[in-house]
C-alpha cells in the first residue's frame, strides 16, 4: 500500500529500491596482515543483494509492519491459536546477553544459569501436565508431535511389538496430527465423533486391536469441548495395548484444572507459543516440548537437562532409549526463557486464573451470540466456541465472508472452516487477556454483520473493504507461482 510514495511506499521490493553504491551497514577494516585469497574459480561474481541505506530499511520494514493485524493492535480471536497478550518482560528477559549471547556448545560450567532455568521449566511443565518426563528440544507443536509418534513407535518396538502400524485420529483433529503420524511411518485411521462432539467410543472400540499403536487426541477437542468420555478413550486404547498421545494445542483451557497424566495420557506436547504466551512472530518461532509418563521417559528426544551432584550441577544428557536428536542444539531456548518468565510471573494462582478467565470469556461470547449464530454442539464450551454460519449461509452470506467482514470492523477473523466436521465453521477463541469491553465490541460487530447479511449482503460478500488489499486471487497465485523477484 502506498504511503505518500518515496521509500516509505511498500509497493517497491528491496531489489527494486536498490541503488548501486548505497550501503546499509559499515563494517570495520581488516586489522590483520592481508592473507592470500582462495583460488579464483572458487570466488563468487554474481552476488545479487540489494543496495539500500539504513533509513530506507527502517522505513520499508516499519511500513510493512503496519500492514499487519497483530495482538498488540487488534483483537485476534483466532480459534485454536490462543492469541493472548505476549508480555514484554518475556522478550526483555530473553534478550539479555547472559541468555541471548551464549553459545550452545560452550562448556557446561559456563552456562549453569541457562541449564538451571531449563531444568526448572522441565519441572513446571511436568507438574502442570502430570507427565514428569520432559524434553524441551522440540521446536514447534508439530515437531513435538513427530517426536511423540517416534517415541510411541520406539516403545512398541522395544517390546518386540512391531505389528502396531495404525494410529487412530479423531475426525476433528488438526492436520498436523495425521501428517506427524505419517512421518513416523504409521497408517492413519480416522475415528468419528459422536453427536456430542466426543470420540465415538463404539467406533474406537472396533479399531482397537493388536495393530493399534495408539491414539492422537486433542483435549479439549477442536470443537472447544471437553470430551466427557476421555477416561473410556484412554481405557479402550490401553486395554488394546496402545498409547494415548495428547495434542496440547488447547491446554489454555485446562491449566490447573486437570492433569492429563492423571487421566491416562502417556505422551503430550505443549505449544509454548500458545498457552505460555510466547509471541507467534507471524508464524513462529514456537516451542513444542514433549511431556511423558515415567515409563516413557527413557525414549525422550535428546537432550534433556539433568541435575547431578559434583562438578557442574546441571548438564545435558541423552535418555537411555532416546529416539535421537530432533534439532541442531537444545531447543528454541529464547522461547523457553519467555515461557519460564511467564510461569514465574503468574505463579500457581495466576496459572489457574488463565483457564478460569479463558473459559469464562468463551462462554460469554457463546451465550451473547446464540440467538444470531448457530451453535452446532450446544454444550458448555472450554476456551473457544465453534459457531456455524449456516443461518447466514441460508441468506446467501458465507462464513468466509463474515470472517472477512470482521476485518473491516477492526477484528482479526476467527479460524474458518475448521474443524472440518462443522459446516461453515467459525471458531472463536477470545483468551483470558481481553477486556469485557473488547468482547462486547466483538459481539456487537458479529450482530451487526448478521444484520448486514439481510440489509446489504453485497457489503459482506465483497469484504474486506478497509484493508490494504481486498480479496486476493489465490487461484492465480497457485496456477502461476511467482515466488521471488526476478530481474525484468
Amino acid at each position: 500500500m502506498a504511503r505518500g510514495g518515496g521509500t516509505r511506499d511498500t509497493s517497491k521490493l528491496l531489489m527494486e529500491r536498490s541503488v548501486p553504491g548505497r550501503v546499509g551497514a559499515v563494517l570495520p577494516e581488516s586489522d590483520v596482515p592481508p592473507q592470500a585469497m582462495p583460488d579464483d574459480p572458487l570466488l563468487r561474481r554474481d552476488l545479487q543483494l540489494p543496495e539500500v541505506s539504513e533509513p530506507e530499511v527502517v522505513q520499508y520494514f516499519t511500513a510493512l509492519s503496519q500492514l499487519n493485524f497483530s495482538i498488540d493492535t487488534h483483537f485476534y480471536p483466532l480459534g485454536s491459536c490462543t492469541m493472548k497478550y505476549n508480555p514484554k518482560i518475556n522478550d526483555e528477559a530473553a534478550f539479555q546477553p547472559g541468555f541471548a549471547a551464549i553459545h550452545p556448545l560452550q562448556p557446561g560450567e559456563q552456562s549453569q544459569g541457562a541449564l538451571e532455568m531449563l531444568h526448572r521449566l522441565q519441572g513446571y511443565l511436568g507438574e502442570i501436565t502430570g507427565l514428569p518426563g520432559v524434553s524441551l528440544s522440540t521446536l514447534a507443536g508439530a515437531h513435538g508431535e513427530f517426536a511423540g509418534m517416534l517415541m510411541m513407535r520406539a516403545y512398541h518396538h522395544a517390546r518386540g511389538d512391531t505389528a502396531r502400524l495404525k494410529v487412530a485420529i479423531p475426525d476433528s483433529a488438526h492436520g498436523t496430527n495425521p501428517a506427524s503420524a505419517a512421518m513416523a511411518g504409521f497408517e492413519v485411521v480416522t475415528v468419528a465423533s459422536d453427536d456430542q462432539g466426543n470420540v465415538d467410543l463404539e467406533a474406537l472400540h472396533d479399531l482397537a486391536g493388536p495393530d493399534l499403536a495408539g491414539i492422537m487426541i486433542t483435549l479439549p477437542s477442536t470443537l472447544g469441548l471437553f470430551d466427557t468420555g476421555i477416561l473410556d478413550v484412554c481405557r479402550i486404547v490401553h486395554e488394546a495395548g496402545g498409547l494415548v498421545y495428547g495434542d496440547g494445542a488447547n491446554m489454555n483451557a485446562l491449566l490447573g484444572r486437570v492433569k492429563l497424566g492423571a487421566l491416562g495420557f502417556d505422551v503430550i506436547h505443549l505449544n509454548l507459543h500458545k498457552t505460555f504466551s510466547t509471541p507467534h512472530g507471524g508464524g513462529g518461532p514456537g516451542a513444542g516440548p514433549v511431556c511423558v509418563s515415567e515409563e516413557l521417559a527413557s525414549y525422550l528426544p535428546s537432550p534433556v537437562v539433568a541435575r547431578n551432584g559434583g562438578g557442574a550441577e546441571y548438564s545435558l544428557s541423552t535418555p537411555a532409549n532416546s529416539i535421537g536428536k530432533m534439532s541442531s542444539f537444545h531447543g528454541n531456548f529464547g522461547v523457553l526463557v519467555r515461557a519460564y518468565t511467564y510461569i514465574r510471573t503468574l505463579g500457581k494462582e495466576g496459572i489457574e486464573s488463565i483457564s478460569a478467565n479463558a473459559v469464562l470469556n468463551a462462554n460469554y461470547l457463546m451465550e451473547s451470540l446464540r440467538d444470531k449464530y448457530l451453535i452446532p454442539y450446544d454444550r458448555t464450551c472450554m476456551h473457544e466456541v465453534v459457531f456455524s454460519a449456516d443461518w447466514q449461509r441460508a441468506r446467501g452470506v458465507s462464513g468466509l465472508e463474515i470472517a472477512k467482514r470482521l476485518l473491516d470492523y477492526g477484528f482479526h477473523a476467527p479460524t474458518m472452516y475448521f474443524p472440518l466436521i462443522v459446516h461453515e465453521a467459525l471458531m472463536v477463541e477470545p483468551t483470558e487477556s481481553e477486556t469485557k469491553e473488547t468482547l462486547d465490541a466483538f459481539i456487537q460487530a458479529m450482530r451487526d454483520i448478521d444484520r448486514e447479511a439481510d440489509e446489504d449482503p453485497d457489503l459482506v460478500r465483497n469484504a474486506p473493504h478497509t484493508t490494504p488489499v481486498s480479496r486476493l486471487d489465490e487461484a492465480r497465485a497457485a496456477r502461476h507461482p511467482d515466488l521471488r523477484w526476478q530481474r525484468p
Binding site: V32, A182, F226, L346, K348
Partner: protein
C-alpha cells in the same frame, strides 16, 4: 479465589456479570465436564512474583552464563558469532510483526507475506537457486527434510551422507529417517561410492571442519547416477564463494542463524531451504506468492498449500506448520542492511582473520593444521594435548576456545586426534587472535 493478574483484565465484578449472562453459578461450574475425581488437582507451582522480582531472578540466572561478548570467543561448529546491526532487533520486535499469527488471512497479513516473499527472493539469490521457501526450524531439520524430499523426488531410498557434515546434523537426519525405510550410508567425499539406487548425496559447504568441498565434482558424480545432490551451506560464506546453485545443486539448505540472529544457546534460529523450480511441489513448508486483489492491486498470499498438512493431512509433504517466521524476518532485515557489499565484506573479514589465526597457530611448536584445502572461517588444529585441557587453560585467560573434535570429544563424529575446531569471525580483533595464540603457546 483467583488472583487479579496484570495480564488478565476481568475483575471479580465483571466475572460475576459474565457468569450471570452465561447462567452459571461459578467459574468452577464451567469445568464440570472434567471428571470429579480429577478436577482441580493440587498444583505444586511457586507463588506469583512481581515484575521487579522476576527481573532480578532472570538477571541472576543470566549472570551465571558466559556471554560471547565477555571475552574473545573462537567457538563455532554450527552457531556463529557475527555482527548484528541494531536495526534488526529494533524492527523485528515491532508488535505488528512480533505478535501476529501465521498469515492465513492474507488481507490482514500483507506485511508478513511480503517479508516472506523478500526472504524467498534473498535466500534463493544467496544460494543461486530458483526457489526458496518461508523457512524451516533450523539448519539440521532443514537438511533432514531435504533428504526426505530427495527420496520422494527420486523414489529411491538409499542416502549417501558425507562424513564431513556436522555430527549433530547427521544425528537429526537419522532421527527423521528412522521410520521411513531409508538406508543412510556414511561416505567419504573423496570417494562417495554412490550408485543408481542412491537418492541423494548429502554434503556440507564449507564442511563441518571449515573446508570447501569440490561441489563441481560431487554434483557431476551425483547426477551421473541419477541422484540428487543436497547441500547444507553457510549463508555467510556465500558472500565470497560460489553458491551451490552455481554447480547445479538440486536442494540447498542451511542455518540462517549467521544472518542477524543471536547464538541464544541454540535457538530460535531459522532453517533455510531452496531447490530447483521443478521440485517445487515436493517442497515442505510455506510459500508466499505474488498475485493481485479483486481491484488488480499487487498482493501476496500463501500458495501451493495443497502440499501442506492443513490441506493434505497424512499425504502432506511434511508435518511442519509453525516455523520460524520472526527469524526469517530478522535474516531479511540483516541481508537488506548488509546488502551486496556488506555481506562480501563480512565473508572476507572472516576469511582474512581465520587465515591469520591459523597461520599464527601453525607456527607454534606442537600445533599443526592436519587438513588440506581451502577453508573459510573454521579450521582444525591438532593440539599437543587433549583439547579439553587446553580449553580449560584458555578459559582461565577468559578465552572461549574451539570445539573438541578429538575421537573422544563430546560432539560425536569420527574425530581427529587432539583436534580442536576453531572459528574466527569479524567479531574477533587482531588483539583477540594474538591473545589466543599467546595462550596456546603457553600451554605447549
Amino acid at each position: 479465589m483467583t488472583l487479579q493478574s496484570h495480564y488478565i483484565p476481568n475483575t471479580p465484578e465483571e466475572q460475576a456479570e459474565m457468569l450471570a449472562v452465561v447462567g452459571a453459578d461459578s467459574i468452577d461450574d464451567l469445568f464440570r465436564d472434567i471428571p470429579d475425581a480429577f478436577r482441580n488437582p493440587t498444583l505444586d507451582l511457586p507463588a506469583p512474583m512481581s515484575e521487579l522480582d522476576v527481573q532480578r531472578e532472570l538477571a541472576e540466572l543470566a549472570s551465571r552464563n558466559r556471554p560471547l561478548g565477555s571475552g574473545p570467543s573462537f567457538l563455532g561448529a554450527g552457531a556463529y558469532n557475527h555482527f548484528i546491526p541494531s536495526i534488526v532487533k529494533a524492527l523485528m520486535t515491532r508488535g505488528e510483526f512480533l505478535t501476529a499469527y501465521t498469515p492465513y488471512q492474507a488481507e490482514a497479513s500483507q506485511g508478513t507475506l511480503q517479508v516472506i516473499y523478500e526472504f524467498q527472493t534473498l535466500i534463493g539469490s544467496l544460494y543461486g537457486m530458483e526457489v526458496a521457501n518461508a523457512g524451516m526450524y533450523d539448519g539440521a531439520t532443514s537438511l533432514a527434510e531435504a533428504v526426505l524430499m530427495a527420496c520422494r523426488v527420486t523414489r529411491r531410498s538409499k542416502v549417501a551422507v558425507s562424513n564431513t557434515i556436522s555430527p549433530a546434523y547427521f544425528q537429526v537426519v537419522r532421527t527423521y529417517c528412522q521410520s521411513q525405510g531409508i538406508e543412510l550410508n556414511t561416505v567419504s567425499p573423496a570417494s562417495p561410492g554412490i550408485d543408481d539406487a542412491t537418492s541423494c548425496l548429502v554434503v556440507q559447504y564449507p564442511n563441518f571442519f571449515g573446508y570447501v568441498e569440490d561441489l563441481e565434482g560431487l554434483t557431476g558424480l551425483a547426477h551421473a547416477n541419477g541422484s540428487l545432490i543436497v547441500v547444507s551451506a553457510d549463508p555467510v560464506a556465500m558472500g565470497m564463494f560460489n553458491p551451490p546453485g552455481h554447480y547445479g545443486a538440486d536442494i540447498v539448505t542451511g542455518e540462517g542463524q549467521p544472518l542477524g540472529i543471536p547464538a541464544s544457546f541454540g535457538g530460535p534460529y531459522v532453517g533455510l531451504f531452496s531447490a530447483k523450480q521443478q521440485y517445487i511441489r515436493q517442497m515442505p513448508s510455506r510459500l508466499s506468492g505474488r498475485t493481485v486483489d479483486s481491484q488488480g492491486r499487487t498482493g501476496y498470499v500463501l500458495t501451493l498449500q495443497t502440499r501442506e498438512q492443513h490441506i493434505r493431512r497424512e499425504r502432506a509433504t511434511s508435518n511442519i506448520c509453525t516455523n520460524e517466521a520472526l527469524y526469517a524476518l530478522a535474516s531479511t532485515i540483516y541481508l537488506a542492511a548488509l546488502g551486496k557489499q556488506g555481506l562480501r565484506q563480512v565473508a572476507e573479514l572472516c576469511y582474512q582473520k581465520a587465515h591469520y589465526a591459523a597461520g599464527e597457530i601453525a607456527k607454534l611448536p606442537g600445533y599443526s593444521l592436519p587438513l588440506q584445502g581451502t577453508f573459510f572461517q573454521e579450521f582444525v588444529v591438532q593440539c599437543p594435548a587433549p583439547p579439553t585441557d587446553i580449553n580449560r587453560h584458555l578459559l582461565e585467560r577468559n578465552i572461549l576456545g574451539g570445539l573438541d573434535v578429538s575421537p573422544n570429544g563430546d560432539y560425536g563424529g569420527e574425530g581427529i586426534p587432539n583436534g580442536m575446531l576453531f572459528c574466527v569471525t569479524e567479531m574477533n580483533t587482531r588483539a583477540d587472535i594474538d591473545a589466543l595464540v599467546t595462550a596456546l603457546g603457553e600451554y605447549n
